[in-house]
Assembly symmetry: C2
Homo-oligomer: 370 residues x 2
Amino acid sequence: MKKSFFRGRVTRLRETLDHANFDTVWITQPENRRYLSGFKAEDGQLTESSGSLLITKSASLLVTDSRYVTQAKSESVDFEVITLKNGLVKGLPELLVRLGTKCLGFEENYLTWELHRELTGRLRKLSHPVRLVTLKGLVEGHREVKDRDEVKAMEAASNLMSDILARVFMKLKPGLTEKQIAWQIEGLAREGGADSLAFPSIVASGPNSALPHAVPTDRKIRRKEPITFDVGVRIDGYCCDMTRTLFIGEPSAKLKTIYKTVRKAQLAALVDIQPGVDSTKPDSTAREIIRQAGFGDYFGHSLGHGVGLATHERPRLGPDKPVKLKEGMVVTVEPGIYIPPLGGVRLEEMVVIIKSGLRVLTGDDHFYDF
Amino acid sequence: MKKSFFRGRVTRLRETLDHANFDTVWITQPENRRYLSGFKAEDGQLTESSGSLLITKSASLLVTDSRYVTQAKSESVDFEVITLKNGLVKGLPELLVRLGTKCLGFEENYLTWELHRELTGRLRKLSHPVRLVTLKGLVEGHREVKDRDEVKAMEAASNLMSDILARVFMKLKPGLTEKQIAWQIEGLAREGGADSLAFPSIVASGPNSALPHAVPTDRKIRRKEPITFDVGVRIDGYCCDMTRTLFIGEPSAKLKTIYKTVRKAQLAALVDIQPGVDSTKPDSTAREIIRQAGFGDYFGHSLGHGVGLATHERPRLGPDKPVKLKEGMVVTVEPGIYIPPLGGVRLEEMVVIIKSGLRVLTGDDHFYDF
């Protein structure tokens, strides 16, 4: 990602200050932080921040501590790096006085109740008190539509992931454990130059495939059962997310029907996706096909979600909260049917929305024609 | 971990209800959730919970959604598993009515400001309103002192990690990249039966070793420079955390002095650790030694921290907020000196506090006698 991108993003954020009820933006959410500054550090634990940003019309500060200061200076050249010695609660008020902040916009979905309370206590006591107001997903909104370089990174991640799966599938045989296969995937991801996995791989066989969020176990894969791979790698910070369900040997008629139904639902949902459509429409299309096939009780999650610096981000493709789909959004389409203890099938593509509809980034390999 | 442990832990939590200002405990923090219920799921992102616990004098509920229900039922047999269809904000109020909750204790360091606001809005409207009050680290307090099985798991993790490092060190040679070495460590961790790494390995060479939280890069390691390994694996959920700094060939006189100083500070701090001592004492002992050697400006972090289900947990061994050390606590002792761009040295042992002082879990291999 070129340095200039980050500058353009901060400029866009600054423009929103003209008609906002805050004069300073405080960014604590790690993907938003990276999106605006290029600072790649991750947060160790959820309550252990590696830094935050303070942005006004004229100032860009990256506030961190001694552990991250060298990294911050090298990655975020447009930001003034501030090293706090005694934590945010003590350090932030001083910085806000320096910036002349009257009203600080904060990320209500990435600030704990405790830190908010401690800060408001301190900020009220300043001789020029600072008010805290919610940012309401301001930067998440900017992140929804991807630029060309973001799509390129996600395409690279998708291509690498498809190659990895192709290599894993060639060597797939009964007796390998889910964990062994997950480990093969991770090894190939590293060798292939991924930053990391985008999320822990799901390799779920037989009854485990009925768990949408299964964790790989020591279970050995067997013939004729579903084996679900929900996997992704990260390149240049950007994720891909894709799911394939495989069988070694011919599965039962019931599993074939399930597979066929999921695929039909996916294809119909893909047709729905284009700029201007409500985000709920592809979900309801897929859901209706699954319902009509008699599996309505076995598709418990949403159809899909946005992907970018985070594996899950806006927009959500679910049954409620409609938003208009836009050109440049990247979303997954992942219907599934899960029948414990028999097993489950999920198929997931990641697509970018273009003027004429969509482009599938994850290859759309369709293995079976039952 | 035996099932009965979890039951004992819930019983202990219930006993606190007798003299608390809440009648129901709501656990959202993932390690606390696992500690009390055995539910191993992790949270995908901060705002993506895989479930929470509601505990009253007589009821134990694990509240999750369709993605995790099968796993929850198999891992948390003492809990009634509740599957929410429309999210926490809608589902929680109903459950609290059923439980007869008047006052709900919540984890203020693991609830976003936004979710707290949405919930209080709904809870106020109930015909019998529910108040939210802070739990103030109730379960984190219970987790501070480890039982025998917890120490056993951490000892197993430490032994595995020591073995892995020994194997990696034998094959260490100039020209290997930090990333390659980190990848060796991860492979050996998997083969050795770890659940996972406890945290992303730090392998930091030369100038990178001056970054306390360095991320492995493509830099090739060289002779005579510090190479810092801060690594850990997780077994049965429990972490180990240890740091070694190595040199290939004899380093400069200055680096030797730094190493010697860090080791001296560590040994002195270890002597301080025993039941009844203030948690600030070993930190100030180590800090004073480093200061007297002229490196006072180059030790920016705390001496150590508790370890358990989380890599970083209570108690903190820092310069402030003293607590009394207790038998059964597991803490790290990790002084460091970091001088950019020359490099840095950090040495870290993880120890369990016993009646007579401490037992080092991480081997206390001391490589150099400069």
